[in-house]
Symmetry: C2
Subunit: 587 residues, 2 copies
Amino acid sequence: MKELGWTDDGPEIQSAFGALGGDVAFAVHNGVFMPTITGLGTDAQIAKWVPLAQDYQIIGTYAQTELGHGTYLRGLETTATFDTSSQEFVLNTPKASSIKWWPGDLGRSANHAVVLAQLYTLGKCHGMHAFIVQIRSLVDHSVLPGVKIGDIGPKMAFEQIDNGYLIMQNVHIPRENMLCRYSEVTPDGSYIKQGSDRINYISMVCTRARILSKELVPALSKACVIAIRYSVVRRQSELKPGEMEAKILDYQTQQQKLLPQLATTFAFHFMASTLEAFCNQVNVQIKTKGDISSLPELHALSAGLKALLSEICSAGVEVCRRACGGHGYSMLSGLPSLYTRVVASCTYEGENTVMQLQTARFLMKCLTRVDCGQPLPQSVSYLSDPISLHCSAKEKTDYLKPFIYTEAYKHRAQRLITNAGIELQSLLQSGVEQYDAWNSTSVQQARAAIAHCQYIVVKNFVETLEGLKHEPEIQRVLKMLCDLYALTGILVDAGDFLHDGYMTGRQLDLMTACQLDLLALLRKDAVSIVDAFDYPDQQLTSAIGNYDGHAYERLFEWAQKAPTNAKVNLAYEKYLKTRFQSAQSKL
Amino acid sequence: MKELGWTDDGPEIQSAFGALGGDVAFAVHNGVFMPTITGLGTDAQIAKWVPLAQDYQIIGTYAQTELGHGTYLRGLETTATFDTSSQEFVLNTPKASSIKWWPGDLGRSANHAVVLAQLYTLGKCHGMHAFIVQIRSLVDHSVLPGVKIGDIGPKMAFEQIDNGYLIMQNVHIPRENMLCRYSEVTPDGSYIKQGSDRINYISMVCTRARILSKELVPALSKACVIAIRYSVVRRQSELKPGEMEAKILDYQTQQQKLLPQLATTFAFHFMASTLEAFCNQVNVQIKTKGDISSLPELHALSAGLKALLSEICSAGVEVCRRACGGHGYSMLSGLPSLYTRVVASCTYEGENTVMQLQTARFLMKCLTRVDCGQPLPQSVSYLSDPISLHCSAKEKTDYLKPFIYTEAYKHRAQRLITNAGIELQSLLQSGVEQYDAWNSTSVQQARAAIAHCQYIVVKNFVETLEGLKHEPEIQRVLKMLCDLYALTGILVDAGDFLHDGYMTGRQLDLMTACQLDLLALLRKDAVSIVDAFDYPDQQLTSAIGNYDGHAYERLFEWAQKAPTNAKVNLAYEKYLKTRFQSAQSKL
């Protein structure tokens, strides 16, 4: 980048990033190691380390997760004990489950690590803190004494990343290497907390929010481009007797698989933008006024949306992949690796079920505020709205009215959240302990959190549409996608809407008819819409999804380049040759 | 095998097969090439080719699928034209979309292929026939003139199989190489059909049925073993304040993920056995009496069950994988490859949507028989039963009565199949063309087929239970699994049961409570149940799922063996060394 004069966030690097599908070197160094120092370090620490890191004179990793501990940070076992006599911290990995596991760039590249460890000083534990630890020699890259490092081995994807493990046995680092913007250990071993590090929490929340636009939406949109383009190249079976085999996108079942994914791409794209704007707004509030009052809402929203969108995008990419039949199973289609990559997002940056339950905890707190008549944050203010009892739709076209379906999503969220609250309260009132009551209702809590997020996404799509009044042609197409997204979601979870009689079976039948009409309508625009994503072929890296539609020719061309075709067949010489030759005379 | 004196289907090979997870050489040679010759060849052809193949003096593949054609066989484009003058068939690949694609063992190993091609003789096309074509030299394994072969490149799994492509340009084979048990081309070029090859159809149907027991159930059961064992090793967060971190299987959300998968394993195991017994029975009917009357029912059942079970097993394995958090993403857990392999079954041996629609066509034919008062095959006889209107359950424990939930599944299937039929008929009666009416109702048809299969699975589980009256302890545990399987299925598709008022929301609430109770009960037996599958560690090949529970130690041990740990870091020498060394003075 530097040699080419590219800026850090310029169009060149964006395009290269797109082409590489995120497979870039030193993502953790750039994306976590440096930001952590900037966030948790003092000005002096930042001045010392960041320029070296920026210039790749050091490569850093971020060592948090351990073999036995992931999302639950307080459980981490690595220790950093302050030794007053030497004025050093001594880092240790007490047992197998404490081995640092997964840090990217660690296995083969990094020479430094920000290590998260339990801080001990004067015999007392002060919880998790971050320390800069040199792990490899700057002279010859050898692993330093007391340190053991290696690659953790193959994963479902991310083959290019050297996720590693790290064991430390009495590794000494200077006192200055504890990142101490918010807390410090003085030379005599006293522990001083200065200010709240909650403020730093915003960066983790925003990292989570950025997954939506950087990983989830690109994965699903690329899968849609590939699968929809292939579905107008691929022909199968006679649809109409005597005619040419039909394009598979003309089959209702194929439309039902793919077009809702396309609609979802847009719903999530707009949701990602809105969430990022909210992040920026809260960031400004914090930086300009030190106001962290919106942080809980932002946290709940980003946790729940990350969980919902990663789940649905993973499922959607897989639907697109399977909809391409055998060729979707070939790596050359580009689809298998889109799936194996995007599905990691269900686990990283906070496992999805844990995320849903964090959102649920926030929702339960909001319910308490409703009961006390206190005001609610904007995204949950609907919890104090009166709950409507019946869907007012009477005919098929009523389902094309956004207020009809938005209201349905709202009703479902209100009902599930309220019921989860009632269930929890009733257990507590019957004498069940808090932790037990929470656990016994957690399946229900998670569902309530999902319903909340689903409402937010639909509402956001509708609001985005309203802002496009001056672009009627774009609005027309997006309106169909919005309708399709919302109706498909209701039909998939039909039970939620029938449960209390909010909708009737008859209403759902009309909605089904309306949804099938939308499929037929959108069929016509589908290819234009995916073309409008404007992915260059190089970014799709798919033999079956290119703009020119030459799927078969390119599959054949690419297959010939497979490394297996250049290898000598050793098994032939070793095992098969003499057998085969003996058949010669018999044929 | 021969050297060790193993028999073809003995315990040794079964165990080796289990350990290799099906990753054995020449699966297509043994599983398709030879059986096809046996099925479609004359006695003379069998006598000539099969002994050579059995002795691996020739290796054969089965070349059916083309770049542009898979499940729709009639669309295949490869031609075999009879040349009267030379008494040979001339095989050709007319265009890119006709290139044979996917045959296993073809890319590097096979020297013969059974090629499926459109037969032309005396200027007339007689449809698909099978031909034995030599493709590589028996002397030096070189590709024969007119033939082009290669590997099709990387796939989502099955890395060890050389799936290949095959192009033929005027490849001549002797007249005797057409497999001609059922049809023949005489020396003067006349085409003679002798008997029906429908009889041969049974082998394809049975191959499909065997996927259930050979691929689907093993994949899901292994995933359950790994995930459930790991879930009692892994601890996370304080469940009860002040206590040790809880085993993750003690969380309701984790139970809700894993225990229904365990129940599904049993449901599908019993279903697979029943289907295989049905296959055998039809096979005997055909072989002893030439009676093919049960073939349509068997076909519909195997197609629909293959589609349903492959879909649910794939999803279930993925649920197990994600339930193991980050370690489930590591290949060392064994889970990613269980998924990438099993999910192929949604596509191979008939793409799932096509399979569902074939079942649906059978169901529609059965509806017509009902209308005419004709008798129905056993598995669909319920279609002529009166349809019950309301679920009779009144309290929570009513849902532990198998007739309650079996009746609910039956009702749902009756309703969806009947409605699909009504919809189709009403379109036809309003003048819509058959093909168009079918396509416009196909989403509904597919749903009806799925509901049919779901009823069959539940009914089969209940019937299996009834046969275990003399083993009350086993019956007790299996009863819980059966209840859990059935109730979870209803709750997942709640909308189907609420739609016409068969169940009420209140009833579903009671059922939910009942299902959660079952989770807590089964939690206690879960580990014993998966231990009872009796998979040796060598067959699980999972660092986190071994019997001894030493997940972290083994992950660490296995990771160190990763090939990446033995490689020299070339990037360090080339790009990083001088940069790092320049940092030395600054730190």
